[in-house]
């Protein structure tokens, strides 16, 4: 894994893994985020919910450094992400973050084993140890039987479990999951979430889980609702 330099310790973020403050993002004339705040602790699973078009995915993309916010800042382990050069941000995404999306994330030409091994190979791990570790993760996600198959030859549920294995194979500290069960039926969605939550817990990874499904959100430790471009922790407000 490429070490990411720490440019500036910045304000103390305590035991928080990631802190975003005052995030703003506008698409054309449409504001997606308006002064959104967000934080997550190591190992915590936070569900991000909200109506369609509320800015959930934009928030995830800003947190993951995929999209540059128009304003505000995202600090990951005391590093201000927007201040990083692109190459450093990419290295951070490859080494520290994992991603699970709803669709089209596996490379169709590669086998499932090669797909899972891919992030390790990109990080410079040699082929054999990369494939050994990938095989372990496929087994952990109960899809070792499809290791030699290509994504087009397996079911949607199996594909999502392969994608989860790929997201976790590098041992990320933070996993971004955007509607990971959105295209699956209840039973398969349930299985993906159970395995994702358990595997993340075991490996100590935190998860930002964007979903519109309450039953998926119920796997989280905490829920944040994006409404009018801002994040609200309703349970915390309710408890206060």
């Amino acid at each position: 894994m490429t070490p990411v330099p720490v440019p500036d310790p910045g304000p103390d973020t305590g035991d928080l893994l990631m802190v975003a403050t005052g995030l703003r993002k506008t698409y054309g004339a449409t504001p997606a985020l308006e002064s959104a705040d967000f934080s997550i602790r190591p190992g915590e699973v936070v569900a991000v919910m909200g109506p369609s078009g509320s800015g959930k995915s934009t928030l995830l993309h800003c947190l993951a450094g995929i999209v540059q916010p128009d304003g505000g800042q995202v600090r990951y382990r005391h590093q201000e992400m927007s201040a990083m050069p692109d190459a450093e941000r990419s290295a951070l995404r490859r080494g520290e973050f994992g991603f699970v999306f709803q669709f089209g994330q596996l490379v169709p030409e590669l086998t499932c084993l090669e797909n899972v091994a891919l992030p390790l190979r990109l990080n410079g791990v040699r082929r054999r140890p990369a494939q050994e570790r990938a095989a372990q993760w496929l087994a952990r996600l109960e899809v070792d039987t499809v290791a030699g198959k290509r994504p087009g030859e397996i079911s949607g549920g199996q594909g999502q479990r392969v994608a989860v294995a790929r997201a976790l194979v590098t041992g990320p500290r933070l996993v971004f999951a955007d509607e990971p069960t959105g295209a699956l039926d209840s039973l398969n969605g349930e299985r993906v979430m159970r395995l994702l939550a358990a595997a993340a817990k075991d490996s100590g990874a935190a998860v930002v889980l964007v979903t519109h499904e309450p039953r998926v959100a119920a796997y989280s430790d905490r829920e944040v609702v994006v409404r009018d471009g801002r994040c609200r922790d309703l349970e915390q407000e309710h408890a206060a």
């Binding site: 309450p214 039953r215 959100a217 119920a218 829920e223 609200r232 309703l234 349970e235 407000e237 309710h238």
Partner: protein, 174 residues
């Protein structure tokens, strides 16, 4: 739930004492609400009176004699009829939540706050059930799933109502 019919169903596989019936019932169906002994014996007395069970034998116990109950042919017919009959779906047309939302709007209180508070409470329970599923057997998982789907339906209603709260406000305060 009809405790009487459930007892009859359990007795179809063989005679049991009241205590065993209660234990079987609690294990399979009474996860959160175990039966009180008073309920068990009152139900058995009713089934006995209606000829759906009979006393199959008595054994001396520490206190009063322990009766063993068996299902009768009439009981078998009765439980079969009950299983064949669809349950009347709950119409859900009288909702305390809806009443609270409307009253909040009528009295100028923050109705969205009512919805948010309920949402947080629903999600808290959904988390608890999801955790319980992780350690439970299949029966426990299915019982929890039944509750989770209902809670999810409520949450969807809460979201929909929150999205239409301004429309509702103008209607109820007109």
């Amino acid at each position: 739930m009809s405790i009487g019919h459930t007892f009859l169903g359990l007795l179809e596989s063989g005679p049991r004492h009241g205590y065993d019936l209660k234990r079987n019932f609690d294990e399979r169906f009474g996860q959160d609400r175990p039966l009180a002994y008073g309920q068990v014996y009152a139900t058995l007395a009713r089934l006995l009176k209606n000829g759906l069970v009979r006393v199959d034998g008595t054994e001396p116990g520490d206190g009063p004699e322990r009766k063993r109950y068996a299902i009768t042919d009439a009981g078998v017919t009765d439980v079969g009829r009950w299983l064949d009959q669809p349950e009347k779906p709950e119409p859900y047309l009288h909702s305390t939540l809806y009443t609270k939302v409307v009253l909040a709007l009528l009295t100028g209180r923050p109705a969205v706050g009512v919805l948010d508070t309920q949402r947080a409470e629903h999600l808290r329970l959904m988390r608890e059930l999801t955790r319980r599923k992780a350690t439970g057997d299949l029966a426990d998982q299915l019982v929890c799933d039944h509750a989770l789907f209902h809670l999810e339906a409520d949450l969807r209603w809460l979201e929909l109502t929150a999205a239409r709260i301004d429309e509702l406000a103008s209607e109820v305060t007109r």
